[in-house]
Amino acid sequence: MGNGADTVSPRGGSGRASPRVRSTLLVGDIGRAFVDADSVRRYPCDVAASLLDGVDMAARGDFAVVGVVMDGAAGHLHATLKALRKGTRAHIVLLAQMHEEPIARRLVEEGREGSRLADEYMVCPTFLTRVCDRVASCASGPASSSPDGQAQTPPVGTLAPVDPTQLEQRLRHLEHLATTDDLTELKNRRYILEFARQALERGKASRGRVTLLLFDIDNFKHYNDVYGHLAGDEILRQAGILMRRCCRPHDVVGRIGGDEFAVVFWDDPYRIDGHTGQDRRSADTDHPAGVISVAKRFQKEFGNAELHLLGPDGRGVLTISGGLASFPRDGSTIQELFERADMALLEAKRDGKNRIYLVGEPQSDIANIR
């Protein structure tokens, strides 16, 4: 990271931020966060290239919004956010790469109002204007409200002014639609592929591991045909809810089509409990032990799930088959991991279903792994 010489200020040369009222401070490598980072000088914002400079400038200036680029901040993020909370009253926005979204969400959602380490997050790459526009909404609240709280209607024949808050809400809604499976509310195929790609890039750079689990519901067509599509939909929703519950907060679950699901497990680089974030290996295999135990727990819970739409005999009948592939052991690209996990899944089906096979270890059902 840089030093004070790396700071830029479009309205006052470089270096120290003199106390100034209500603007934006961006902290970290903005080139990784914004599509239009090159035009930063056109925006009313200051930039601190290093986390320390960011904390310093935030505490000495009077910024309405502080945007923190998460990429490159692993290991220092919590300390930085705590210091920012202590030193400034600014609205803190985390700028997360897609694979960092689960961590960003946790930081925004955990804790009580006012004691959270961050106020909101945005998935990158995004545009500078999205962060800089937050100043207006943070400073004045909803822009379209009149003093008596009533929404103002623009006079006929005039263009309504763009309300940054509403615009932001619409953008978030569109983002949600583009990345979410509407039936299960899990991530969709597009998101999973991009997330896995980014997690793999990080894994390669930091010697971390990424594990992909592909699974589908055994005899799903039968339930659909016999009990109807409503019951089929309910089974898919339950599978999603249960898998989400069994996973660690930073793992990502998605529905990638029909009754097929994918889970991306990866080493959390932002852990603050002193661990490296790396999952230990199982005693019997090179695959991460934590992932195997999550998959086993899910198999068990899904098997015990009570589905009213299947009637009184619906309990304990549902099973899944799956395949599990790990980077770097089983492949070094997303395509390779998907192909190999898919082959293991097919093998599990051929061998009688209700099992999850590890790639590269024939007949290796995770039920037999300690």
């Binding site: 320390l52 705590k82 210091a83």
Partner: protein, 162 residues
């Protein structure tokens, strides 16, 4: 607030885990000198503390590894704000020659033992006496320069005489 603080004794910022023996020891030591002390868990928290007292003389004390995290960014930042720092070296610090050089260049006082930290505090208190830190700092610097010049002159004279 800040303007009225400049005449006060320096405030000591101790960087390190609060449960760490070193931090407790430093808090006691600052107490012996009747100095206000703020423990900070890490350098990020310390940066916030520096910003909270822009016009007050601040002294930062911490273990070498803690203060030299990264490439010495914290010490560089402290230097830019005119804050004096003192690092306690440990057995492993000797392996990090480049970092030690960086610290020296940044004007950091390196302490091998507690006695050195006491010396640092005593020295800073003497330097930042009743006339305020800025003037005294300048005087000290001039004095040092004069001494160095005198030494050089004496050496040159010896050589000429010889």
């Amino acid at each position: 607030m800040a303007a009225s603080e400049s005449h006060l004794h320096p405030r000591v910022i101790v960087v390190g885990d609060r449960h760490n023996g070193f931090v407790k020891e430093m808090v006691c030591l600052a107490g012996e000198y009747e100095l206000a002390v703020t423990p900070c868990d890490d350098v990020y928290s310390a940066v916030t503390e520096l910003a909270r007292h822009p016009d007050r003389s601040l002294l930062v004390i911490g273990q070498f590894r803690q203060l030299m995290r990264g490439k010495g960014d914290f010490l560089a930042l402290a230097q830019r704000h005119g804050t004096h720092c003192c690092c306690l070296l440990d057995e492993e610090s000797g392996m990090e020659r480049d970092k030690i050089l960086t610290a020296v260049r940044l004007g950091v006082r390196l302490a091998g033992e507690m006695a050195d930290i006491r010396e640092f505090l005593t020295g800073r208190l003497a330097a930042e006496g009743p006339r305020g830190p800025e003037t005294n700092e300048e005087d000290l610097f001039r004095e040092e320069l004069r001494a160095t010049e005198d030494e050089l002159k004496a050496l040159l004279r010896q050589e000429t005489d010889g």
